[in-house]
């Protein structure tokens, strides 16, 4: 930090913009989080521990983190394909498809939740075909993953698109002319170039999934121990005016997701350095 400040940049205005940055981040991010941690600090340690280690709370952590990871992974694969198609090929209606990618961003989450539930419920358009196959989609864990995949998709596509656009097609041609197979080209030429962006997209989708409440509560069924997500348990605590318990769960989620995001960032730095 000290070293950074001492290094003189040729760009003017560092002091002013840094001041705005500190204030802005402090107000928008740090202040609410500090309030959260302070509130949870009022809870006696034993009570804090009992709250966050309750089997039901543990089950909700597992579901929240598990479903978010699966959804982010699904999005990493299919989001990559969507981004690839949108960047590399031109076809009629491409602009339309491109615009559609943002829809999950724009839709109020409750609307997406209700729409998805109507679709996947046993009587719904998709649900009526899935249910006889023994795949209940709504009101079970799969439903949570579906909702989180839906809302996380734009993050992957939108972070991958610029990275793919930067990638020169000539590189692939060169690889092919030098005798690389398609798989080799993908693994050795394409992937290193887009991996940082892919990881960012994955991390964003994952983080978004962890915090998602509005759409999931409609499709999950909210059965204790089975399909209760952690944000729902926070709301449950608040309904009992148990502010301390709610913040306790929140602090654990926050710490865990911070660690995970940090790990993904590390991976990103590593992969960037590795590819250079």
């Amino acid at each position: 930090m000290q070293i950074r400040v001492l290094q003189r940049s040729v760009l003017p205005g560092f002091g002013l913009t840094m001041g705005v940055t500190v204030f802005y981040l402090g107000l928008i991010v740090l202040l609410p989080l500090a309030a959260l941690v302070l509130k949870s600090a009022t809870v006696p340690w034993q009570q804090f521990w009992d709250t966050v280690c309750d089997p039901r709370v543990m089950a909700s952590y597992r579901l929240s983190f598990g479903a978010s990871l699966i959804a982010a992974a699904v999005n990493a694969v299919f989001g990559f394909i969507v981004a690839w198609v949108l960047v590399r090929y031109s076809f009629p209606g491409r602009k339309l498809v491109d615009a559609m990618v943002d829809l999950p961003f724009a839709l109020p989450t409750a609307v997406s939740g209700i729409a998805l539930t109507a679709l996947y419920a046993p009587g719904g358009w998709l649900g009526r075909w899935l249910t006889p196959l023994g795949i209940p989609a709504a009101y079970c864990r799969l439903g949570v993953v579906i909702a989180l995949t839906f809302i996380g998709m734009p993050f992957v596509v939108r972070t991958l698109q610029p990275a793919l656009e930067d990638l020169d097609p000539e590189l692939e041609e060169a690889a092919a002319s030098l005798g690389a197979s398609r798989l080799q080209t993908f693994r050795r030429v394409l992937l290193p170039g887009i991996l940082p962006a892919l990881l960012t997209g994955f991390a964003l989708a994952f983080a978004r999934g962890l915090g998602e409440y509005g759409s999931v509560v409609f499709i999950a069924g909210n059965m204790p121990m089975k399909t209760e997500i952690a944000p729902l348990l926070i709301i449950t605590k608040l309904e009992q005016y148990d502010y301390a318990g709610a913040t306790a769960i929140a602090v654990v989620m926050l710490s865990a997701s911070f660690l995970l995001l940090l790990a993904i960032n590390m991976l990103q730095w590593w992969s960037r350095r590795h590819s250079e």
Partner: protein, 364 residues
Amino acid sequence: MRSGKTPLGCSLWIGIGLAGMAMGLAGCGGGGNADGQRIEILNVSYDPTRELYKQFNEAFAQHWKDSTGTEVSIRMSHGGAGKQARAVIDGLEADVMTLALAYDIDAIHEKTDLIPQDWQKRLPHNSCPYTSTIVFLVRKGNPKGIHDWDDLVKGDVSVITPNPKTSGGARWNYLAAWGYVLQQELGDLAVLDDPQKAEAVAKAQEKARRFVTELYRHVPVLDSGARGSTMTFVKNGMGDVLLAWENEAFLAVNELGPDQFEIVVPSVSILAEPPVTVVDKMVDKHGTREVAEAYLKYLYSERGQALAAKNYYRPVAPSKVPEEDMQRFPDVQRFSVDDVFGGWQKAQQMHFNDGGVFDEIYKP
């Protein structure tokens, strides 16, 4: 820190200051009422009262103008009752509150000094200008033959009700089922307070616990709110029966499909009392006490009671309501939370708080 020629530290602070000022400016606005001829009050309510208060506010504004010459506009805030109570605790400046259960208004007294402890004694009928009850909504023709609470736990009947931990309405459902068993077992709910019958009462309570546990085994989905459950049942086709507020059930039948659903009224149900109150500290601050009190009193007037009945709430003074509007409410024996559970505080503590009876049902 550092010593350079240009005052970098200084401009850093200017930046912080500028950003702060911009935020401050953006944050301003709003505020201020009760000036001169135009008064504004805020009514913080729960979800299913939207239609009722839309009509009632118009009627009251007219009435207030006719009798005092002052214009009043009423702003509404709707949402889950618990969420609304928390908003007021956290500083939403409500002049009046019209919530789904006394427990949430009690919480406001407990957490703040906005209202006195005896708030519920200030208006007639426990400060409830209208009441409701819990009924069953079944699919047309009642294919599973559901007529009373016992039928809910038969065979493969699937019951839709929201999560009592997050939904006020769901707590009424739960307590209604519990009270039904006590009524069946004891015959007369008055013996609950009879020390000589303590053994029989304990047995009945145990039976009620088993019944409610069994009931929730028949619940495939626990939505977080009453509207969510209605949607699950009506739109998504889940379940054979929906436990619902009477007014919500009427709404579902009339607006969504009289040819698809019917209402079944059980033999015994709960007396749901959604209370109202003035928020003392706020009306004194805004200078709106007079109009806020008149607003709530008007709910008890002929016009207020008629509008309640029209919106499927049972008026507390049926004599003030036209006969044809009363006919839609079938007779049902109703018990109150105070009589059977000793008030909302106790009920919440025993049944719905963490580690309560409801949590036991789902203990693995």
